[in-house]
């Protein structure tokens, strides 16, 4: 087995794999994380809002996203976004926006539901007295949230948010189903072009393992450091 392993194909393709593929994966992960945490935090605030219809709407959205397979959601947005974009531009027909933006919107909206649940737990872990203290000082809702509650919630939830980001990093490989060239998509293309399936898929697995394992070790490290500060 191992004596038939063709290392040469990796040597020939690694520039393409990392320059085209991995940069797509990392950009997508980073932007979807930022967008997902932003919308997830807003969703969490909506879910905890005293305005009932807003809370139901946010809760419905989060539960819907969490009940559906990511692959199905990727397909949904892949076909839906061009329609919405076309309508937005007044073109009267669907406009193509490309695999990257389609994937970015999908992962932002999908992960927002998961980040929302993390942020909700984070906000709920802050004692109520903090909010009352904010109001007593004359701060309004947004200032109380922005200056008092959210900074503490973020710090408490940082390890969980980062762990979810590692899951997001792994999940971006599913853009394969819309033929985007992320790291895994690039590996699959080389594998099929050169008929080196065993080598390329094993190599992809090793690369994903090294990055995910490395990042989760860092998160574990951070977790113990944060625990000491508290």
């Amino acid at each position: 087995m191992i004596e038939n392993f063709d290392f040469d194909v990796i040597q020939r393709s690694w520039v393409y794999l990392f320059k085209d593929g991995m940069s797509f994966t990392l950009t997508l992960t980073a932007l979807a994380m930022l967008g997902g945490i932003f919308f997830g935090t807003l969703l969490a605030m909506a879910r905890l809002s005293s305005i009932k219809p807003l809370a139901w709407l946010a809760g419905g959205y989060v539960n819907l996203m969490r009940s559906l397979p990511l692959v199905l959601v990727i397909f949904w947005f892949f076909f839906l976004v061009p329609y919405l974009y076309g309508a937005l531009m007044g073109a009267g027909k669907p406009l193509p926006i490309g695999a990257f933006y389609s994937a970015l919107i999908t992962f932002t909206m999908f992960e927002a539901a998961y980040y929302c649940e993390i942020m909700r737990a984070g906000i709920q872990s802050i004692p109520r007295g903090q909010v009352w203290a904010g109001y007593a000082l004359g701060l309004n809702y947004w200032l109380t949230m922005g200056k008092i509650v959210l900074p503490q919630a973020f710090r408490n939830m940082l390890p969980v948010l980062l762990t979810q980001t590692i899951i997001l990093f792994q999940d971006t490989s599913l853009v394969y189903v819309i033929s985007a060239t992320d790291f895994f998509g690039a590996a699959a293309k080389v594998a099929n072009r050169d008929y080196r399936l065993v080598e390329m898929y094993t190599f992809a697995a090793v690369v994903y393992f090294v990055i995910s394992f490395g990042l989760s070790s860092l998160v574990k490290n951070l977790q113990t450091r944060i625990a000491i500060i508290r």
Binding site: M1, L64, R66, S67, L68, P69, L70, V71, L72, F75, W76, F79, L80, Y83, L84, A87, G92, K93, Y114, E117, I118, A121, V160, T163, Q164, I167, Q170, D171, S173, L174, Y176, V177, F184, A188, L197, V198, Y201, T202, A204, A205, Y208, F209, S212, F213, S216
Partner: protein
Amino acid sequence: MNYNWNWGILLQPEPGGTGTYLHYLIVGLGWTLLTALSAWVIALAIGAVVGTLRTTPHKWVVRLGNAYVELFRNVPLIVQMFLWFFVIPELLPKGLGDWIKQMPPPWSQFLPAVMCLGLFTSVRVAEQVKAGIQSLSRGQGMAGTALGLTLAQSYRYALLPQAFRIVLPPLTSEFMNVIKNSSVALTIGLLELTGRARAMQEFSFKVFEAFAAATVIYLLTNLVVVLAMRALERKVRVPGLISASASAGGH
């Protein structure tokens, strides 16, 4: 949004000649459930063993268990799916590998998909089982030792019966994850629910009807699983405990 909705498409025959599109999707749900349930059996069996071993006082056994968990947790599911489908049959002895590759169509995808999802989920089950055992008070194991039970006996009679009842609620969400994750099997050609919705979209060009139908079927399935598991949870709840907390995240 000028999209021509045509819900009647669901009652029109699909090109394969097996019946209507709706029937085609329902059969897909059958494959989704069969894949998920088969994988779930593997995941429970391996996860229970690995999770238990990771709480034992044997250092090397714990390390081995941790390595197993890290291995399957840090590689994306689709990559594992491709490894099981394309790579493992090549690494097996030639006769066995060829036998797997030459199985008739749905089974040659079904078997790798079940193995992949089973092992992928087993590490999540192992985490929950480990957490469940560690949530028991240390006195339980010590009492077992004080009574003269061996390590195996105190697991068998004191720790595991309690732990399994405690981990049931978090396992519900893991079971829902297997159902959702089984959609990744479409990448190796298994026509489960999402795969069939995608195929229906390609045959009929009715994008949103196809995906909306699949969405509704997934939501109904989730509802049934949640209700069934809630009934089961009520039955096995440990009297006196508030309820085991499930860890969030993942999918």
